[in-house]
Amino acid sequence: MTTRIVELRRGILKKNDELAAGLRQRFTSAGVLVLNLVSSPGTGKTAFLELTLRELRSRGAKAAALVGDLETDNDARRLAASGVPVRQINTHGICHLDAEMVTKHIEEWKEVSLAGLDYLFIENVGNLVCPSSYDLGERIRVALLSVTEGEDKPLKYPGLFNSSDAAVITKVDLAGPCGFDRDLALKNINEIRPGIRIFETSAKTVAGMDEWFAYLAEKAQLS
């Protein structure tokens, strides 16, 4: 009997990474800015996205959204009210979206052509851990946290916050009643991801949304 060591040096998620690289290339050549929205369940991703889609549409931008959930198409129906194309991805128990699901849904999405879009939002499954391992080909990964979740979320989930390009604090209209310590939250985000752009928003009062739209417009220009 002989023992042999075979060096592999291979990414465990190599297949996902290759598919994601293919998607990124397609998105870039179509000139569409793709954002992957990640947060815990209940942070308000859907309300934030609803407002974003509505406003982009009223500004004449072409946006669309893919929305991931374990089950139901409730979020897709909610988002479709904004008047932009929306497609639901049901993962049936899988806790994250992966590049294969995104590829499949983009190919099957006949009413949407990437080249005709300015923005594509991908709302990930509500989860702060698993989505951070799966590249979806996005240009911008957005981590969201609400004021009701506590200021230490970034410290508890450094994998996500460190790999994100922007952070959005939601429900700032509830900051007072929740005793939310804004300075501490900003400090914690910055300790985990130094220099990240942070938006402090409310889908109810639309606070902070102007800065968000300015950021989107600036990033889309580079697409």
Partner: protein, 133 residues
């Protein structure tokens, strides 16, 4: 809890690589996992047996080498390992540092195979004696 998906991806990759060595048994699979890879060591070990069951990798030991975060500091120009993942500051000069040089790895480093010598039956194949029992 995506460790089961991760374990399944490892089994797929190892099965593919090991198929180049017919008759060999996979004894050990060695991983390099960064502290920021969002993979929990215990959960991955827990899923390992389930994911390998009935596959050519069944019975193989999973060895997980956890890698700390290494930051490059723009202020002092040094690469340094940090303790934990709670503060991304250069341990030498105390400046915040966003440039990650290690910590997100999720890799299969190597596999250890047990191969039959020439003339020997493949590993795991029943011996002639057993066949007649």
């Amino acid at each position: 809890m995506h460790e089961l998906s991760i374990a399944a991806s490892i089994v797929e990759a190892v099965t593919e690589s090991a198929s180049a060595y017919p008759g060999a048994r996979v004894k050990e699979v060695r991983l390099r996992v960064g502290a920021l890879a969002s993979v929990i060591e215990d959960s991955l070990q827990f899923c390992w047996e389930l994911a390998t069951e009935g596959s050519p990798v069944a019975g193989a030991k999973l060895v997980i080498n956890m890698l700390p975060v290494i930051l490059h500091c723009d202020a002092c120009g040094m690469d340094s390992q940090i303790e934990g993942v709670q503060s991304f500051r250069c341990p030498r000069c105390g400046e915040l540092a966003a440039d990650l040089r290690q910590g997100r790895e999720l890799e299969i480093e190597s596999i250890e195979l047990e191969e039959p010598d020439a003339g020997e039956a493949p590993v795991g194949a029943p011996s002639p004696v057993e066949e007649h029992l």
